[in-house]
């Protein structure tokens, strides 16, 4: 029973791990912290996996747990954070089918997101991932109206950082 659950979890996670990588990229600024947060998300997901009933998609559930871990549970690593890492680590992405302009855009987007506070980061992330307001408000535990108001403010902040 436990083995079945475990292998199902490993498969589910492996297929959706990119979500967690993205969350780690926006909430951390160096590779060590990225790995730490990634590991904590895996722990939290596995800890709660038996409670996952499958009434929502695994990925939806993953968004929530990953963001919760980043915002509330993760303790920033005590290791000194080297800011110069920001430019290098987050974008080790396959650039073959990706043109330079897009890569530069993505870089400045990540850089701008890093300047937002934790809650705004979550809002912007869910916007970029094209999540409906219903899901956003449910994930954060605020009303849809408030989610909209706050989202507009977060977008405004992001725009100002991107186009000063």
């Amino acid at each position: 029973m436990q083995k079945d659950l475990e292998s199902k979890f490993l498969l589910d996670f492996e297929q959706n791990q990119n979500i967690v990588h993205k969350v780690c990229r926006i909430y951390t600024t160096n590779q060590d912290a990225h790995n730490d947060l990634f590991q904590e998300v895996v722990i939290q997901l596995w800890k709660n996996y038996s409670k996952f009933r499958g009434d929502s998609k695994f990925s939806t559930w993953m968004y929530r747990v990953a963001l919760n871990t980043a915002i509330s549970l993760y303790r920033k690593s005590t290791r000194s954070i080297k800011t110069q890492d920001i430019d290098n680590f987050a974008y080790k992405i396959k650039s073959s089918e990706y043109d330079d302009t897009e890569e530069l855009q993505l870089k400045s987007l990540y850089k701008a997101i890093h300047e937002l506070n934790d809650i705004d980061k979550a809002l912007i992330f869910l916007y970029l991932e094209d999540k409906p307001y219903k899901e956003i408000s449910e994930a954060l535990g605020i009303t849809q109206v408030n989610a909209r108001v706050k989202m507009n403010r977060a977008k405004e902040k992001l725009k100002n950082i991107l186009n000063p």
């Binding site: 490993l10 992405i93 954060l140």
Partner: protein, 213 residues
Amino acid sequence: MDLDTYKKTWGNQPEETNSVSKIDIYKMAHSKSSSVVKWVFILGVLELSLGICLNLFIPDSYIDVYSDFNLIGFLNYYMILSYIIIVLFLILFYKNYKAVSAVDNTKKLMTKILRVRKTVKYYVYYNLIGAFILIIIINSVMFSNKELFAKTLNPNNLEVDINTLMSGALIIQIIGALMVLLIIWLFYKVTYGTLLKKLNKNYKELDSLEHLK
């Protein structure tokens, strides 16, 4: 450039090159969590057990002093009551800790983490107020029996003015109490302050959303 263009770029971003293998995911899933809640829990257990340890390690000679004032019976009742209250706090603390789940929505999760922390805070308040009341009761009993108190403070019957002796005892107690308060305050500032700084900030940020309307 508008945000929609960035959104498109975001959507086109390739998958992470350092994807984690099943074996590594398995290893990670079975490693120990180092979450904020876990640290709040460990600190809480330490604090709750500190109360118990203090009760257990009070030297007998310290208690003997009170027997002269017929306070032993009262202190025993107080001790039993303290243990009952500590057990109640432990149950409450554990229940609150177990209720924390990463599956909840963000706001609920934060509220639950802060509730675990609050249990410990109330426990400390209880201890401080309890100790304060106890000191007042013991002192009023002792000070109301001046001669016996003077004898206890000055067992070798040295020639000292009784009033100087008693005000000295009072000052020492006040300084002691202030120092204990200072240590507790510093402890809180350093431990929970650092641990929950981020959480408190995020909670305020999220909570302020509720008052937007």
